[in-house]
Each structure stands twice: as C-alpha cells, then as structure tokens.
C-alpha cells in the first residue's frame, strides 16, 4: 500500500496487496516444504522402499496454515484497518479477496506438487500413496488419478480459510469467541472428509468422530456442500465483523 488509495478501490487493492505480501512472506516456507517433500523420500529410500506420499503431508499442513493465517490476519488487521479509516464492510471484502487468492495459490501449488511428486516417484518406481490405513490404501497410480485427487485442494484450502476467518472474527469479537471452534472444527473436518478421497488429516481423537458417515456421497454433491459451508462461514464472518467494536488497548 505504498501509493495513496482511492476510496472506491482500496478494498480491492488491499486484498491484492495482502495476497502479494503473504506470498513474499511465506515463499521461503513454501519452498522449504517443496524441497523437504522431495528430499526426505530420497533419503528414506536408502533404507526402505517409498510407499507413501510425502507431498500429501505437506499439502495438508498447508490447510492448517491457511486457517491460521486467515484467522490471524483478521484478528490482527481488523483494529488496524478501522484505525486507518476503513469500514468493516471494506475490511470484509479485502479479507474475502485475500482468502480466495490465497486458497487458489496454495491449491495450485498443492496440485502441481502432487503431479510433480508422481513424476518423481515414477522415476524411482515408488508408490505415491496419500493414505495407507487400517481399512484401505489409497494409491495414485497415474497422473489422472493424481490430478483427480489433488483437484479439490483449492476448495479445501478455501474451506479452511473460511473456518479460520470465522474463528478469528469470533475470538476478536468476544473473550469466549473461541468456543466457536467446537462448531467450526468438526464441521470443517467433516466437509473436508467429504471432499477428499482420503480420510481427513488431523488429530485422531477428533477425526475419528466425524469421518466416514457421508463418504460415498460423490464428488459434485460434496463440492456443492463445501461451497455452501464456505458461503455460510464467509457470511457469518462478515456478520460478526460488521458488529464488532474495536477493543480497548491494554495499559
């Protein structure tokens, strides 16, 4: 935001600027994840055969990162932006633009990463398996399967962004706002489970209660449900922001 903004466009330019700055800030982290996901299997392969997708772990860590960043940004930036003379509506739009771009960005990296990993594993004749569970193995045996598996990641990141933003807004709004996590976490995991052909990646004591029951719903119904949940999350976040007083500063 080095140039003075115009009132009509500043909500959009801020959203774009937030995205650009975030890409710059997290570039090293993302690069580190890419390198680790490629190098660690090479090292491990010295002792045992590789039959799990390392990128699957990195891509799922990205979901939590998306949620934490969305919530953290909202919590931190709301008072700063209001103090800079922005309305809460403008702030909501800026955060929405950021969330969309950030999810698309991370999702594209995840997708390309799965395809790249498939090529790498093919060279060494390793097995790209996002999941090796007690119930079944999920093996990505072709580029097409890898593409199908990874295609939902942008939407999945958007889901986590929406959940993080909702939690961030609620926590800023009220000291007891964190209680919304009791709603956001299980719903988020359940919808993510619907979207993915793998089980939801998260703490077992939470995941085991919410995965499974609707797994056979099919891709498109799952996408529709995910979009609906994201829309509700975004709407709820906006509603909270619009009525949130800026907290008094602590002495």
């Amino acid at each position: 935001m080095s140039k003075t903004a115009t009132l009509a466009t500043r909500r959009y330019t801020l959203g774009l600027a937030l995205f650009g700055e975030s890409v710059k800030y997290f570039a090293a982290w993302i690069l580190a994840a890419i390198i680790l996901a490629a190098v660690v299997p090479l090292i491990v392969s010295q002792w045992r055969s590789i039959d799990i997708s390392a990128w699957y772990l990195a891509a799922n860590v990205g979901k939590y990162l998306a949620a934490i960043i969305a919530g953290g940004y909202l919590y931190t930036l709301l008072p700063i932006l209001v103090a800079q003379g922005m309305t809460r509506r403008e702030t909501a739009v800026s955060m929405g633009i950021f969330g969309l771009l950030w999810s698309l960005f991370l999702g594209t990296i995840a997708l390309v990463g799965f395809l790249g990993e498939h090529a790498l594993y093919g060279v060494f004749d390793w097995t790209q398996a996002p999941q090796q569970g007690e119930e079944y193995d999920l093996v990505l045996g072709s580029f097409g399967q890898a593409l199908d598996f990874a295609a939902i990641y942008p939407l999945s990141y958007l889901l986590y962004c929406a959940g993080g933003a909702l939690a961030g807004a609620a926590i800023y709004r009220s000291d007891t706002g964190w209680l919304i996590l009791a709603l956001v976490v299980p719903i988020g995991f359940a919808v993510d489970d619907l979207l993915s052909s793998a089980d939801t990646w998260g703490p077992a004591f939470v995941v085991r209660f919410i995965t499974g029951p609707l797994e056979d719903l099919g891709t498109w119904p799952a996408v529709v449900i995910a979009l609906a949940v994201i829309a509700i999350g975004a709407w709820g976040t906006r509603r909270i922001i619009l009525n949130t007083p800026i907290r008094a500063k602590q002495a």
Binding site: A5, I80, G85, R89, L242, P245
Partner: protein, 292 residues
C-alpha cells in the same frame, strides 16, 4: 473543509456499566478541543464513538452531520490515534507508516519528513521501539493522516518533554496550515492549555462542562503578591491551590473577582491573573465537591 462532531442522547454500556450516560455534545468544525476527565470518566469511550470504533448503546453519533458508523466518506477522514497507536507490531516502522496510505488524504512525504525529524528508525520493527518512540510513531501517523477530524488520545505518553513540545508545535503548525478539527485527550492539562480553544470536561460518563478556554479562565483567578496582601484579598474566596516562595504567595481561587475586589487587591500590590486550567479541573472534578 473540516468536520463537526456531535453526540445526541448517547449512552454506552459495557455490560451493566454505563461508560457514557445520555450525553449530548456538539463540537464545531475547525477548532482545537481539549477533552479532560479523570481516569474512567469516559474520554476514550467518547472518542471511540466519534471514530466508529464502537457503536453507542443508544443515541446518535454524527460527524459532519452524517452518521459515522460504516460511513466510508466520513471514517476515511476521521483519525483516532490511541496511546501507542494501532500497528502490527511485527511490521517495520516504515511499513506501519505506509499503511496510512489507505486514507486518500494521507501525506506520505510529510510522514517521512516527520519521521526523520523525530528520529524514528524506519527499518526497525515496531515491537522494538521504546514506549516514547512508539508514541512518536503514532503521533506522526496521526498528523500525516491529514484527516478532517483528528483525535489524539493520550498519545503523548512515554514522550519526553522536548518531544512533547515539538509534537504540540507541529500539531499547531499543521492546524494553522490546514484548518481541521482536533480533539486532544490528555492529563497533561497545563502543557496543552495554550493550544486549546474549547474544553470539554467529562465526569463519570457525563459532560460536566463545555466552554471556551476564556470562559474557564474567567471561572477563577490567580492572586500573586506579598503573602499578607494575598491572604487579605482571598478572604471569603474558595482557594483551589496555594504556593509560597519566601514572602511571596500565589493562590488560585475558584471565583472571579469583581471590579472593587480587583481594585483593592491591585492597590495592595497583588497581581491578578487567569486561573490555571489544571487547578480549575482538579477543583471541578473533586469527588468531595461533586458528591462522589
């Protein structure tokens, strides 16, 4: 163009506690106001309403005769600078200044000029600044906002005396260069008294007084001269403050002297001056006097 500000029948509650109680206040555009009050009187709350940081529980808050809440044309021209400023502490000072560019009126060149003058380290992170430097950063951002209504809420805290003096002078220079409405909330009353045109005193969530500075000064007087003569002149008057140096005494009284009293005092060698705003404030907000 500068903004007026008004509150009509405004009440604001925090839970069951009323921070402001049925307040009505009108501030004309283009003046420098002092907002005075004891701790917990409701000063910050009042400023938070004028800047749309908060919504009133009841009543109406207007700036430039328009509702301030979620009004982009108004809030973009209103700046509330709170103690320590509102920054992302992990940002550099330069980045914290540059975010001011969200305001169309923000003057980045002026901000950077002030940063240089007040010796702000642009490359250092905000959380590495001393309290005083952080206050300076907040003040710089407030001045450079070039808003039509600018409010400084205890922004001087942590600044040393020369820095405070330089800030007040810069504030005045900016005001003279570009008339706008300024509200200064402070406990350092004597330091800012010369800059103020009108004073609002808040007491326990209500407007106690709203007068121009001359009217406040006319509410009392300072008598200085030989101790005996001063004591004689003060007979029957309520003494607010008293200082003595050798045979010379200076007292502040809570009522204006009529022409006859002034004549007698002058004849006895007593100089009569305007009352100090701080002494008057202490007197007016004395819990014993106000029945707290």
């Amino acid at each position: 163009m500068s903004f007026s500000a008004s509150l009509r029948d405004v009440t604001l509650k925090y839970g069951d506690t009323e921070a402001l109680s049925d307040i009505t206040l009108a501030l004309e555009p283009g003046k420098i106001y002092g907002l005075l009050g004891r701790n917990g009187a409701g000063k910050t709350t009042l400023l938070s309403l004028l800047s749309a940081f908060r919504r009133p529980t009841a009543g109406e808050v207007l700036v430039d005769d328009r509702p301030v809440w979620e009004n982009i044309d108004v809030v973009s021209q209103v700046a509330l600078i709170r103690e320590g400023g509102d920054f992302d502490d992990t940002d550099t000072v330069k980045a914290a200044i540059e975010i001011g560019a969200l305001r169309p009126s923000f003057d980045l060149d002026y901000a950077l000029k002030l940063a240089e003058r007040f010796e702000l380290p642009l490359d250092r992170k905000v959380n590495q600044l001393s309290r005083g430097k952080r206050s300076v950063l907040a003040a710089v951002c407030g001045l450079a906002s070039r808003a039509q209504l600018t409010m400084f809420d205890e922004v001087h805290l942590g600044m040393d005396a020369p820095t405070r003096d330089a800030f007040y002078k810069e504030l005045l220079a900016e005001y003279l260069d570009r008339p706008h409405t300024v509200i200064l909330s402070t406990h350092l009353i004597d330091e800012v008294a010369n800059y103020l045109e009108e004073v609002v005193i808040l007491d326990r969530g209500r407007i106690m007084r709203h007068e121009n500075v001359e009217a406040f000064q006319g509410m009392g007087a300072t008598l200085t001269g030989p101790a005996d003569a001063v004591d004689a002149a003060a007979v029957g008057l309520e003494v607010l403050a008293e200082q003595r140096l050798g045979g010379t005494k200076s007292i502040t009284v809570a009522s204006a002297l009529d022409a006859a009293d002034r004549g007698r005092a002058a004849a006895a060698g007593v100089e009569i001056g305007p009352v100090g705003l701080q002494d008057l404030f202490i007197h007016l907000t004395d819990p014993d006097r106000t029945g707290a």
